[in-house]
């Protein structure tokens, strides 16, 4: 689940909801926000062509969402009586997401630092105890560096593609 996409989805949905639920669905459908825009296009088609109720379709969409906080936020947005409720729901959801995003980042950093510490400790002790020859340290380190550079390049390429698309 991409947190940024979820935040953008809620932002657009709230924006459209200040007009009407149909407009909210339309706005997300037009945004090209995958995978939500595809779902919203399907909902629009189901309500406009097949004559299903938009509310029912949105409820089904919420039930099928794997990320429960997003489903709850959409449901409470749909139940929101006034524009103030919409703004409050949007604010609460995004604030929680920002906190979770930061916590996630903290965990990832802690894991990476611990992994670095563990790797170095294992390699130093294994080579000192004779489990691996010291000459094996260089290929292992080069391998690790290659993997990290490859991952970095893949990430930069994805970023570049995203910017090109925009």
């Amino acid at each position: 689940m991409d947190r940024k996409q979820a935040m953008r989805f809620i932002q657009l949905f709230s924006l459209g909801l200040t007009w009407s639920p149909v407009k909210a669905v339309e706005l997300v459908a037009k945004s090209g926000l995958s995978p939500y825009s595809r779902d919203m296009r399907r909902i629009l088609l189901a309500s406009a062509v097949e004559g299903h109720s938009l509310q029912d379709e949105l409820n089904t969409f919420c039930e099928n969402l794997s990320y429960r906080p997003l489903a709850i936020a959409v449901k409470s947005l749909l139940q929101g009586a006034s524009s103030q409720d919409i703004v409050n729901t949007l604010k609460n959801f995004i604030r929680t997401e920002i906190e979770l995003e930061n916590r996630e980042l903290d965990h990832k950093m802690a894991i990476r630092l611990s992994a670095a510490f563990l790797t170095m400790m294992l390699l130093a002790s294994a080579s000192a105890l004779g489990t691996i020859p010291p000459s094996l340290l260089s290929p292992i380190s080069i391998c690790l560096l290659m993997i990290s550079i490859f991952r970095f390049l893949v990430w930069r390429l994805d970023l570049w593609k995203l910017l090109q698309k925009r």
């Binding site: 200040t18 007009w19 995004i94 990476r112 130093a124 105890l129 560096l145 993997i147 990290s148």
Partner: protein, 191 residues
């Protein structure tokens, strides 16, 4: 243009629409609020452009909200209702600006923390390389220079961390400087 003034302009647009009930007149009035958009709107009105065309020109100024505001203004709905929607849009814009600023501040603090962790990683790599050299010398009675492999392992994990906080490889400097300093210091200490 500042994001705050973007919100103020949308609110002004809602106000003038409630009085004038005409999107083009409302756009003309909000043009007075900002010199940057004044030229655009005046030129567009002089060329007899429609509201949608004017909004297309303003798209860059309103950013993500441009198409939405254009949609509202050209919907042909009751201007009072449009004014209400614009006011709600302005509230959402304000909340989003506030949350964006919060997110940026938190990310900045996480980046500072990461920078600090990378410095620690540099010190740690240097310490491990020198400790392993010492161990090899004590156990195997054979000197072996391990600075480069440990430097590369540290650099690999630094890149993993840099990638996570969406920064460039320039951040390797935060790793290399403490690594080199610590290596020289420990080298001098152990001989």
């Amino acid at each position: 243009m500042e994001t705050a003034s973007k919100t103020v302009i949308v609110e002004a647009l809602a106000d003038s629409l409630q009085f004038n009930r005409n999107p083009v007149v409302a756009l003309k009035q909000i043009a007075l609020w900002n010199p940057e958009i004044r030229d655009l709107i005046m030129r567009a009105i002089a060329d007899n452009e429609t509201t949608r065309q004017i909004m297309e020109e303003l798209r860059n100024i309103f950013g993500d909200y441009g198409p939405w505001i254009a949609d509202i203004l050209t919907s042909g709905a009751d201007p009072v209702f449009i004014g209400k929607v614009l006011r709600d849009t302005a509230s959402i814009m304000r909340v989003m600006d506030e949350l964006d600023a919060e997110r940026r501040a938190l990310l900045r603090s996480r980046r500072n923390l990461t920078r600090f962790l990378i410095v620690i990683l540099g010190v740690m790599s240097a310490a491990f390389s020198k400790i392993s050299e010492l161990l090899w010398y004590m156990i195997l009675r054979n000197p072996y220079n391990s600075s480069l492999p440990f430097a590369l392992i540290g650099a690999a994990f630094t890149i993993f961390m840099v990638e996570e906080v969406r920064m460039s490889l320039k951040w390797l400097v935060y790793y290399l400087i403490p690594f080199l300093l610590m290596t020289f210091f420990l080298g001098y200490l152990f001989g």
